[in-house]
Amino acid sequence: MMKENNMTMETSPEKALQSVKEETGSPDQRSRSEKEVRQEIRFIKKETMTCAKYLRRMEELDGMPGALQPFLDTLRAVYVELKNPLEKYHQKTVGTYCVMAPQELVYAAGAIPVRLCSGNYTAFSIGDDLYPRDACPLVKAVAGFQKMGLMPVYRDCSLMAVPVTCDCKKKIVEMLEQTHDVFPLSVPAGREDEDIDRYVEELYRFIDTLEALTGNRVTWDLLAAGMNMTGQAKYELSRFLKLKKSMPYLMWGTHILAVMNAAAYMRADAWSFHMNRLNRELEKRIEKGEKVTSRNRPRIMLTGSPIIYPNMKIPLLIEEMGGIVAADETCMGERGMSDPPVVVDESFDGILRALANQVIRPCSCPTFVNNKERVYRILQMIKDYQIQGVIYHVLRGCLVYDYEYLFIEEELGKRGIPVIRMESDYNEEDVEQLRIRTEAFIELIRLKQAA
């Protein structure tokens, strides 16, 4: 199998560990025992290897647009070369753990937001021992990184902003507090007017914290600049989605997920810049009628728990087994950035309200009390991207997404759209089982197509 014998290393783990130590200085100066050092080397070795492998599998999909490279390079820098790609800006970074911490505010305060939700298998295996068995793998992976303290992107953060959404997110606050300043951002569970008001107040508190961090007073102009920065990124994304709607086989879904994942570690203006290039390249492709696949592959939509690099096994399986991920409705994917804030009142308060509104109302995250709107979003996407089947991804332990499966299955069933639930964890033990299920699902769609 290709994944076993392709384990050449880009960087030697000892060297990487050395450079990490030199560049950032270890958080605690206590001398490490031999055993700890060995453990660290093992960690880095495994971590870089897995991440490099998934990058390679992504690069092996043919028809990769050239403009995609910078996004993959960012992922490589963070997880394989263990660098902090944001270092070059000489600004403080603020770690966020969900789309519900508005990046605009971080930019306005003169810092850079970085999204730290993790999909790392190696970190997960460490976090697995720290957290209850049924905790979600995402937070276990975060805990693993936190414990090892070796990742520059995690370590360099001056502040962690944790939106308090699901139970697991609530509990990582305490854990993060051991090493970082943490701002728990309360997110209302409902979407009534009063909830929005409360969230606006919360955003003011967030601004205060950010101001204390960077020493900048967030004025109207700075806020507007922050809004423009992410607005540009959202504009480029909307352009991209429009292109994709016009042709479902324009790009591999795995690649799109990589682009969206890379946004977590790139400053918004750099991301939009590369996105603009990608859009221009794709426009040319459309003109020439180029596709990534000549066959009429089943168009599959991925929804459910977030798909975070390097946990790309499900989209990769789908595309390696003959399907294509034509759309995704996950928070690390396009959902996180596709809703633009609509400023209808240009006062400072008005802009914050627009932000609050955009974060709370259109978000189809199942942590909200009433989330029926998600089904409509999925239906609309099925129409826009001509989806033939839906794969519902559930991370083991992610209860909120699991809850919604039944309702969504029922609604999609009524409309004759096949849907399956795929549970997975952050390791490669379940790959074979997932492969069989994916294959069967794709076959099912093929049969339907033929009929």
Binding site: R191, W220, D221, A224, M227, N276, V342, R353, A354
Partner: protein, 394 residues
């Protein structure tokens, strides 16, 4: 508990409004010894016209002062003071947003043109379409207007029946009800001078970046009860021996601007309230306007509709935030494709701010004339990346 308190407060406000309206004439704002209800083109372009504008200018000055005081007081009441947030930080940044859609330009042109016609049309054009009555709040004390507004007779029904011949009465009702049926509250969004004035106040607030009042449904519900009191007053005051026109704020606009000498009582103070209110809350008066409510009654049959695609809507609430009338149903609705509400003034703000293609549209007799589009909403971002970024990215 809290609910009860707001109810009591609302009740008190309604009571105060009724009492004030009844004794409106005891509150002189600007009273002439002898009124003069005639103007001419010559007078319009003379210095005297400026003198006659006095009451209007006083209202504006008072409103400006009140707004300043309100902002000042709010600075004390709100723990988070935003005064210094407005200060520019060296370089001034423009908040990027969608370009103004054609629809909005047309709407403003309509509002300005129609308001001008109602005020000065007769003087300028030299002929009057007497008998054609539009149900808008523009004071018809000024008989020189091109098109009349029907509010005077609606609030003085006995006068209508006494003074007019049967044909006049029929013409009045046919034109008034006809327009209400045909146009619905598009009248409010496109034609009414009071609407124009309030929209101007809103624009001023936007330009000065002043924080407004964020409304909630419970606040809107309070306004609804005040609106019913207003309807009651409009029709009932004349029978109880009161005078609605001494209370109605619209009298400060068209007759005064046209250069007539009309005495103004409580209306002047009302107008100050309207200006201040609509500064902080867009179309504040329209939320309690009795005439607007009456036109709204035709919303089931009027050919102007708000249409919604219930699947493509993401419930982002942008339309609700933008709606000056606080119509929540427009964003929560998932069943009906027709979301025309009794309060909807067809202003199109919801369509303008809707980010989902085709999710919302305004339609006339089934034909959509203004449709939501993401490209339109984000048109302000259309540009090639900064060359500076390009260098950085290399």
């Amino acid at each position: 508990m809290n609910k009860r308190r707001t109810r009591i407060v609302t009740g008190m406000i309604c009571l105060i409004i009724v009492v004030l309206a009844y004794f409106a004439e005891r509150f002189p704002f600007y009273v002439y010894e002898e009124e003069e209800l005639h103007t001419s083109l010559r007078q319009f372009f003379s210095v005297e016209h400026l003198v006659r504008l006095q009451p209007f200018l006083i209202v504006i000055a008072m409103a400006a002062l009140s707004i300043r005081i309100c902002i000042w007081i709010r600075g004390f009441l709100l723990p988070r003071d935003q005064g210094d947030r407005k200060a520019a930080n060296g370089k001034s940044v423009k908040l990027r947003k969608g370009k103004r859609p054609l629809f909005m330009t047309v709407r403003w042109i309509f509002m300005i043109a129609f308001s001008t016609m109602v005020m000065f049309g007769g003087i300028w054009c030299g002929f009057i379409l007497a008998g054609i009555d539009f149900p808008v709040l523009a004071c018809p004390t000024n008989r020189d207007q091109l098109i009349e507004s029907s509010c005077y007779f609606l609030s003085h029904l006995p006068v209508l029946f006494e003074e007019y011949s049967p044909t006049g009465i029929v013409l009045f009702f046919v034109s008034t009800i006809g327009f209400a049926l045909l146009l619905g509250r598009t009248i409010c969004g496109f034609l009414c001078p009071m609407g124009l004035i309030q929209d101007i106040m809103h624009v001023i607030r936007q330009k000065t970046r002043t924080e407004g009042i964020s409304m909630t449904q419970s606040l809107y519900r309070r306004l609804t009860s005040i609106k019913w009191i207003m309807v009651l007053l409009m029709f009932g005051l004349v029978f109880a021996g009161g005078e609605f026109c001494s209370f109605c704020p619209a009298i400060v606009t068209s007759p005064v601007l046209a250069g007539m000498k009309v005495s103004i009582y409580l209306s002047g103070f009302m107008m100050v309230i309207v200006l201040v209110g609509s500064f902080f809350k867009r179309r504040f008066w329209c939320n309690i306007c009795p005439l607007g409510y009456l036109i709204g009654l035709t919303h089931r049959i009027s050919p102007f509709r708000v249409k919604k695609d219930t699947i493509s809507c993401t419930e982002c609430g942008a339309c609700y935030e933008a709606c000056p009338m606080g119509i929540k149903m427009i964003y929560t609705e998932r069943e009906r494709t027709d979301v025309t509400d009794i309060n909807c003034i067809m202003c199109g703000e919801c369509v303008r701010s809707c980010p989902e293609d085709n999710a919302l549209a305004l339609a006339f007799a089934g034909k959509k004339y203004y449709t939501a589009s993401r490209a339109g909403l984000m048109s302000g971002f259309e540009c090639d990346p900064d060359p500076e970024e390009e260098r950085e990215a290399e």
